[in-house]
């Protein structure tokens, strides 16, 4: 923004902004503070300072196994939702066919359906289909709930791409596939990255769908966290949460550095 806010308007704006930031960040800071508390239960304010809960968590086989599963699942989900979402977005923006609006609404519908219901429905369908592998079921379920995020961000950035660029590339001798790789994709890279990041994060901390599709052998992080929370609410729970928060922050910062996430999200 070129014009600086000033006077009373600026005061109001900054106050509201600060309030929002506090509202969003304070709970996270509380969790982080609780994770270093030298006590057997989660307390606030934290008592003393210790990193022993981190040590405990990082030796916890269940947690490490769940982390591994969640990261692989989130990576697979990201890949899957990009593979489905990017071509779908392309068709929605560039296509001119009957029922376009209806299809768009349908593809984005998992965003508004309660995930709990989506999860249950998926469980029933997958059971009927005889799909026994919890990992595959989780992957399918996560792709269903994350691809709308990819579709939405990619649709937004595709709408900003000048179609003449693609036409120019084609007159210069590029077929449709090479046109996409060499011309379109570089224009929508930030949108694709933002969609991918959404997909990863949504998959990583998804509880409502995961709950239905996981089993005792394959339990992703949110389930382990929940279980731990119910059993013994000691500071290892905030420690796990803090590790996840830090991961998310690193992911966001990295993408911002690489492709300018801010630009993609502002679009």
């Amino acid at each position: 923004m070129d014009e600086r806010f000033s006077g009373f308007g600026a005061f109001i704006l900054y106050t509201i902004t600060a309030g929002m930031m506090l509202f969003i960040l304070a709970p996270l800071l509380l969790v982080m503070a609780a994770s270093v508390s030298d006590s057997y239960f989660v307390t606030f304010p934290p008592q003393g300072f210790t990193l022993k809960w981190y040590a405990k968590v990082l030796q916890d086989r269940d947690f490490l196994e769940a982390m591994r599963l969640s990261i692989l699942l989130a990576l697979g989900t990201t890949a899957g939702s990009l593979l489905l979402g990017v071509p779908a977005a392309f068709a929605l923006v560039r296509g001119r066919f009957f029922g376009l609006a209806a299809i768009k609404g349908f593809l984005l519908s998992p965003l508004i359906f309660p995930a709990l219901v989506t999860g249950l429905a998926l469980l029933q369908v997958l059971t009927k289909l005889g799909s026994q592998d919890a990992r595959l079921n989780l992957l399918i379920g996560h792709v269903v709930v994350t691809s709308p995020y990819v579709i939405r961000t990619v649709v937004t950035s595709l709408q900003l791409v000048d179609e003449n660029l693609e036409d120019a590339a084609r007159t210069l001798g590029a077929n449709r596939l090479r046109t996409f790789w060499r011309v379109t994709l570089p224009q929508i890279a930030s949108g694709v990255a933002a969609g991918g990041l959404f997909a990863f994060m949504v998959s990583f901390d998804n509880y409502p769908v995961t709950m239905w599709l996981a089993n005792s052998e394959y339990s992703p992080v949110p389930l382990i966290l929940m279980r731990q929370l119910v059993n013994v609410f000691d500071p290892s729970v905030p420690a796990m949460s803090t590790i996840i928060i830090l991961m998310a922050m690193v992911g966001v910062l990295l993408l911002e550095k690489l492709v300018g996430l801010r630009r993609a999200l502002a679009a």
Partner: protein, 364 residues
């Protein structure tokens, strides 16, 4: 570069029930520049894109050197195309933009580098190779686009309102430059424009389009001096249009009665016996002070009052009203020492012109 002959054979494009291009047939001579001219929505751009292969015709064919191109995909047609918004790849430098087409053709790096530098020279941008499109002005960007289109040695050049986004002065100099380059390379070129000046300046042949159909095809002089329809007479330049019954036939011409005070002597044989439409270009009309000519009723002459007068530098525009309410537009070239307008609003004048300036419009 070899010149190609381009031929359109009953080319049509329908979108549902809307007919965008309606059976357009056209032959373009090798090395010629043809302008498709018309108001927006007349189908000229659709036509151009069908020649490029970007739009598939509903029916009809495109031939290049008598080879049917209709089923050849755009990326194998070897056409150079310029777009109104330049369509440069923003993530590539000027050099990379120009090299794009060469890369798609699998030309070796060394050959490509040489051709790119030649193309940069051709469009006078040798110093700008490492820049990105966003760092260039509109005119420079269009030069890059031109270099990118020419470096692939295209069979033809297609221009989609290429200079529309430039301001007037730059546009006019680019028109002349582009035309000179096209002539030198002998490159068959099809241009789309809604700007009649651009078409008149640049094209060997002008194709006036309306509602998806060809309205008139001809050289700039033919189109301007002998419009075949009312639409062309009004779209290209300004026209005074008069309509009336034939009063008498004489020799190879006739007298048309437009109003009680105005009759027209035409040197052409009117095509029909019903009402005839005549166009007279505003610059063909001479204005004189009333009383200087004999008041006797003569053909091609009328007494009128100056309704509006506009001084436009090298020319003055006079809008005259005849006693029966008809309007006549006159363009008069100003003399270098002339002090403003020669006739004031409200002044009574006589407008007259020569019989050859009366042009009969065949289609109303």
């Amino acid at each position: 570069m070899k010149s190609s002959e381009v031929r359109l054979d009953r080319l049509s494009k329908e979108y549902g029930r809307m007919v965008a291009v309606d059976e357009v047939s056209l032959a373009i001579e090798p090395g010629h520049m043809v302008a498709l001219l018309g108001p927006s929505g007349c189908g000229k751009t659709t036509c151009l894109r069908m020649i490029a292969g970007l739009i598939r015709p509903t029916s009809g064919d495109v031939f290049v050197n008598d080879k049917r191109m209709t089923d050849v995909p755009v990326h194998r047609r070897n056409v150079g195309m310029l777009f109104q918004n330049y369509a440069l790849f923003p993530h590539l430098t000027v050099e990379e933009n120009i090299a794009f087409g060469l890369e798609m053709r699998g030309i070796s790096k060394a050959d490509a580098a040489r051709k790119v530098s030649e193309a940069l020279n051709l469009v006078q941008l040798s110093k700008f190779g490492k820049r990105y499109p966003a760092q260039l002005s509109g005119g420079q960007q269009q030069r890059v686009a031109l270099g990118r289109a020419l470096v692939i040695e295209p069979a033809m050049l297609l221009l989609d309102e290429p200079l529309g986004a430039l301001d007037k002065g730059l546009r006019e100099s680019m028109q002349v430059e582009l035309r000179a380059l096209q002539r030198r390379l002998g490159l068959t070129t099809v241009m789309v424009t809604h700007d009649q000046d651009e078409a008149l300046t640049m094209a060997d042949k002008i194709v006036v389009m309306r509602d998806g159909k060809l309205e008139q095809v001809g050289s700039a002089t033919e189109i301007y001096q002998r419009p075949t329809s009312k639409f062309v007479a009004q779209f290209i330049g300004a026209s005074n249009l008069f309509e009336g019954p034939i009063e008498q036939r004489n020799g190879n011409g006739a007298v048309i009665r437009v109003s009680p005070e105005l009759s027209l002597q035409v040197d052409q044989l009117p095509p029909t016996t019903s009402d005839v439409m005549v166009s007279i270009r505003p610059e063909a009309i001479v204005v004189e002070r009333a009383g200087q000519t004999p008041a006797a009723q003569r053909a091609n002459s009328v007494t009128a009052r100056v309704d509006q007068a506009v001084y436009r530098g090298f020319v003055s525009h006079y809008y005259l009203k005849t006693p029966s309410g008809g309007q006549i537009i006159v363009f008069e070239q100003n003399q270098s020492q002339q002090a403003g307008l020669r006739y004031a609003v409200g002044e009574e004048v006589v407008a007259r012109w020569e019989a050859p300036s009366n042009h009969i419009i065949a289609r109303h």
